[in-house]
Amino acid sequence: MEFKDYYEVLGVVPEADAKTIKSAYRKLAREYHPDVSEREGAEDRFKEISEAYEVLKDAGKRAEYDQLREYGGDGGFRPPPGWQAGPQQSDSGEFQGGFSDFFESAFGQAGHSSRQGFSRQHFSERGEDIEFRLAVFLEEALHGEARTIQYEVPFFTDQGNLARQSKTLKVKIPPGVTDGERIRLKGQGAPGIGDAPSGDLYLNIQLAEHPLYAVEGADLSITVPLAPWEAALGATVTVPTLDGAIRLSIPAHSQTGRKLKIRGKGLGREDNQGDLYAILSVIMPEADEDCDELWRQLGERSTFEPRRQWENKQ
């Protein structure tokens, strides 16, 4: 088992006082908290940080840890002979996976040790609810497809020890789901203790980024590139939507940024049916001598002044 240097994790010296440890933790927590940070690996880093703080903020645990550190701080770690993890209470470490093996062996099973010793006959409690982040492609969100997911549920063995068990479940994504939606699957969470019912499974839907469409709630938007003459004269263009291409009329004299609404072609359902917005973007063609000649002629004949609003301001 790998020894965890909690001082290093928090970036403090082993002699650091409680105030320094607290402020080091708070600073790192703000930086890496998974609800705040967009950084890659933030959740794992935060787990390490909160595990370290869980031990170092408590004078008793810190003293135990310092003893262990002296004993086995180099390389591999084995708890010293006769080492007994005291009963500890913890309310952190709930993110998926919990604390490290090192923590579990040194300080007992975080958050659950208080339940040890209750036998199944004398104790019953509803199973834990499980949160599961489900990344979904827009196409799957629109049509609602079946997906097989795998997750871990904590449960208590007959001996009263906490263990984890892998569960596989086929779930149907409801058609029209939007980003951040939450779906409850009754009874698919952790098993209850004693006669109590199982907890529920909550799927938190996260839409994966799509190369063509940007998402805002149930609405989608797509950029429609136009040649300058299409924007000037109007055109009919083919626009891909999530369920097949459609023909869209571009009104003459359209500017870049103009939004055209294509009703009902977004996500959502029933009372929250989203639309697709086609956002026009005029693109200049690549250099071409014939074209340049035509542009020159247009420039000579046109009275268009694109910077009129600057007049009298210079």
């Binding site: 609800d35 705040v36 909160s50 779930v171 789901v177 939606e181 409850r184 973007s281």
Partner: protein, 98 residues
């Protein structure tokens, strides 16, 4: 068997989010979520609110901050999210030629 757009009562939210009642009352009083109904007995939370409540709870505990600080952080995060979405749309508009 799956359900969505579920409404939850105060008791259900506290159980689901493993949150004491007084903390939930504070979350509502700070305006972090605005449930339907005028008194705690009548409050109904939709599923998006439950996600926000859980997030608020984790932040309050892990960042060791008060509910007002959590409310401010959540509002700024929401603004950041919408600015990022807007930025994404604009980026697609500008660089679509490539």
């Amino acid at each position: 068997m799956s359900e969505y757009n579920i409404s939850m009562t105060v008791v259900e939210v506290c159980q689901c989010a493993r949150l004491p009642l007084d903390a939930l009352v504070e979350i509502v009083e700070t305006g972090i979520v605005e449930p339907k109904g005028s008194s705690p007995q009548e409050w109904l939370f939709d599923s998006q609110m439950v996600v926000v409540i859980q997030k608020a709870h984790r932040m309050q505990r892990d960042l060791e901050t008060d509910w007002n600080g959590v409310a401010l952080a959540l509002a700024l995060l929401e603004e950041l999210r919408s600015v990022r979405a807007e930025n994404d749309r604009l980026r697609r508009l500008t660089f679509t030629a490539k």
